[in-house]
Point group: C2
Chain length 362, copies 2
C-alpha cells in the first residue's frame, strides 16, 4: 500500500511540474539522468556499477525532443492510471500495445516499436527513482524455487518445502513477496534447471537446510531481486553455481556487481557479498574432469579477454587465475559433467565438500 | 512402483535376448522400429502422427553397426542400473556425461557427442515401447500452472489454487503427478507467460473455474503429457491460446496431432480433442485489432504454405480460411495486442465471450 502510493505520488509530482510550467508559459521540460556508458561508474565503496550524476533535459518545444517528451508523458500516464492506480501489473510488451495509438487528429503513432516504450520506461525509472517493478511493469517470468522457506504471495501462504519435484514458479516481480518463515542456512542459485531437478530429487535442500533457486539461463530481474532480498533481509549467504566457463563467470558478475544496462537499478539488484561455488577450472583437476572438457572457439577466447578486464575482476587474483587457466586449457567444463563421477556425486560429495571447506571464489 | 518394475523388466528382457544369442554363438542383434519420415504416418482414425511398422536390425558383428550396438547396450544398462533401479531421474545431458568414457583398453569414447546418446535413448523408447519418461530421462523443465486442482508430487500435496502470482513450477517429468482433487471445468494452455501472469493477477481461473498452464515458448514434453493426462483422466476440455500467426498454429498442431520427431510417442502426448481458442485472424475484425497487425516476412509466408499443407490441415475448411486470411493480410496479431482494448479486456471480455459462445477452431 505505502509503496503503491509512493509510486503514484512520484508520477503525479512529475506531471504537476509540467502543468506548472505550462501555466507559467514556460517551455515544459523533464530532467533525466543519463543512462549511457559515459555515465556508468564502478563504485569502489559499494562494489557495484552505478549511474553517475550527469543529466539531460527533455523539452516539449524542441523539434528533436517533442516526440520523446510526448511518449514520456503518455507512458507515465498509462503506468499511473492503468497499472498503479488499479494495482495491476503489465509486461513490457503489453505497455507497448496500450501506448500504440495515433496522436489524435494525425496519422502519427505515439510509439511504433516496443524498443521505444521500453526506453521510456527505463527513463521513467531514473526520472522518478522508482524501479520498473514499483512502476508495475514486468518482464518474462522465469525460474523455480524450493527449500526451507515459507512466503506470502498475494495473500497465499506458500511453504516451499512442500512443492514436490516442481517447486514454486518465480513470478516476474518479486518485490511484493513476503518472507514469513525462513529456516535455511544459505541459498544455492544455479543457472541450470537440470541441476535444480537433480538436487531437488536428491532432497539436497532438506539434507543441507538451504534454498534452491534456478533460472534456466540468464538471471532475470525478478530472480536477482529475490536473491538480493534473501541476502539483505534474511542475511542468507548466496552461492552461485554455473558452468565452468566465461558465460558462467559473467552470470556471477551480473548477480554480484550489476550490469551496464541496468546500472541505474544496481541498488535493488546487486549482491556484493554473494560467492561463486563452482564449477571452477581447479575442479577439473580436483574432481578428475579432464576427459569432460569441451574445446573453446575463438569467440569464447575473446570473451574471456573482455570479461577478465572488467574493473572488478582485473585486480582479483583468484579470478585472474581462473581466466588464465581457461585460456591455457582452451576448454570449459559443464556442471553436468560431474555426473561422470556418479549421478548424485554433485549433491553427496561436490557441493557438501565445497561448502564445508568454504571453497568459494569471491 | 509397478511402472518402475515394468521399465526395468523391459530392459532386462532386451539384455537377456542378447545374452541368449551370445551363448548360442549367434550374432546378437536388436530389432528397432524405424524412426524416419518414411515410417511416419498420419492415422486417420486416431487423428495423430504415428510410427509405421517398418523395422531394422542392429548387429554386433557388423562393422557398420558395432559402435551403435555397443552404445545401445551401454546406455540401456546405465538407464536400468543408475536411474530406474535407484528411482532417480537424469537429464539427457547428464546421461551423455555418464556414458562418455573410453572403451576399456582403447582410446575410443563410447559416445563423443550428446546427439549420439540422445538418439540411442530415442531408439530405446521404440525398442522397449517405454516412453523416455518411463526410462527416467528428462529434458528441460519449463512452465507454470495455477488453478482449481490439487496434485500430489513426490508425497507433497499441492493445492494449485493457493500459489499466489507465481504458481506451480511444472517439472520435466509429469507422468508421476497424481491428480487428487480437480474442480476445474477446463484447462487454458497459453504459450506466453506474460498472458499467464495477466490472467492469474485477474484471478481468471477463480472466476471461471479453470486451470491455467503456460510454457513460455515451445510446449515441452512434460507439459504435453500433463495436458493429455488432464484431458484423458479428468475429461477436461483443453483450450489452446497462442499468437495469431503460423507459429501459434504450429504449437496447436503439435499439441493436438503430434510431431514427426516424436511420432513414436504420440500415444502419450497428443490431445486429439483439444481446441484452439485464439488469437484468430477473425479476431482482427471482431475485436478491432487492425492497427495492431505486424507485417510478415518471406520466411513467415513460406511457413504458412508449409503448415497449411499438413495432412490434418489440408482438408480443414476453418483452418484453411485462417491461412488464407494470414496470406491476404500479410500480417500477424499477438495475444498481447488485446491490451489496446484495455489491460484486462482479455480476461473480462475476450476469453469469457469465446468460451461462452463456443467459438473455437478445431
Amino acid at each position: 500500500m505505502v509503496q503503491k502510493n509512493k509510486s503514484a505520488e512520484k508520477l503525479r509530482e512529475m506531471g504537476e511540474k509540467v502543468v506548472r510550467e505550462i501555466s507559467k508559459n514556460k517551455n515544459p521540460n523533464i530532467i533525466i539522468p543519463i543512462r549511457a556508458l559515459s555515465n556508468v561508474i564502478f563504485n569502489e565503496r559499494t562494489r557495484t556499477l552505478e549511474l553517475g550524476d550527469k543529466t539531460s533535459s527533455r523539452y516539449f518545444f524542441n523539434v528533436a525532443h517533442a516526440k520523446k517528451f510526448l511518449q514520456t508523458i503518455e507512458i507515465a500516464s498509462i503506468l499511473k492510471r492503468e497499472l498503479i492506480d488499479t494495482r495491476k501489473h503489465e509486461h513490457l510488451r503489453g505497455v507497448f500495445y496500450i501506448a500504440k495509438r495515433t496522436v489524435p487528429g494525425t496519422n502519427i503513432n505515439i510509439v511504433d516499436d516496443q524498443t521505444e516504450s521500453d526506453k521510456i520506461i527505463e527513463d521513467l525509472e531514473v526520472i522518478t527513482g522508482l524501479s520498473r517493478e514499483e512502476l508495475h511493469v514486468s518482464a518474462n517470468k522465469m525460474g523455480s524455487l524450493v527449500g526451507a522457506i515459507t512466503m506470502i504471495d498475494s495473500g497465499d501462504t506458500i511453504d516451499c518445502s512442500k512443492l514436490g519435484r516442481g517447486g514454486y514458479s518465480i513470478p516476474s516481480i518479486t518485490d511484493e513477496l513476503e518472507f514469513k518463515k525462513v529456516n535455511a542456512k544459505y541459498v544455492l542459485y544455479m543457472e541450470k534447471a537440470a541441476i535444480f531437478e537433480r538436487l531437488n530429487e536428491d532432497k539436497f535442500w532438506q539434507k543441507n537446510n538451504c534454498i534452491l533457486v534456478t533460472s534456466q539461463g540468464q538471471t532475470t530481474r525478478g530472480i536477482r531481486r529475490l536473491l538480493q532480498r534473501l541476502s539483505e533481509e534474511e542475511k542468507l549467504p548466496i552461492y552461485v553455481l554455473c558452468d565452468g566457463d566465461i558465460y558462467g563467470a559473467y552470470i556471477y558478475s551480473v548477480v554480484k556487481y550489476g550490469s551496464i544496462a541496468l546500472a541505474h537499478a544496481s541498488e535493488r539488484l546487486t549482491i556484493p557479498n554473494c560467492k561463486y561455488i563452482g564449477v571452477t577450472m581447479d575442479d577439473v583437476i580436483n574432481y578428475d574432469l579432464k576427459k569432460q572438457i569441451i574445446k573453446l572457439d575463438e569467440k569464447d577466447m575473446s570473451r574471456i579477454k573482455q570479461v577478465s578486464q572488467y574493473d572488478w575482476f582485473k585486480d582479483n587474483k583468484n579470478w585472474q587465475r581462473q581466466f588464465k587457466l581457461m585460456k591455457e586449457l582452451k576448454g570449459k567444463v559443464e556442471i553436468q559433467s560431474l555426473a561422470t563421477r556418479g549421478i548424485s556425486f554433485i549433491s553427496e560429495v561436490y557441493l557438501p565438500e565445497k561448502i564445508k571447506n568454504k571453497e568459494f571464489l569471491d
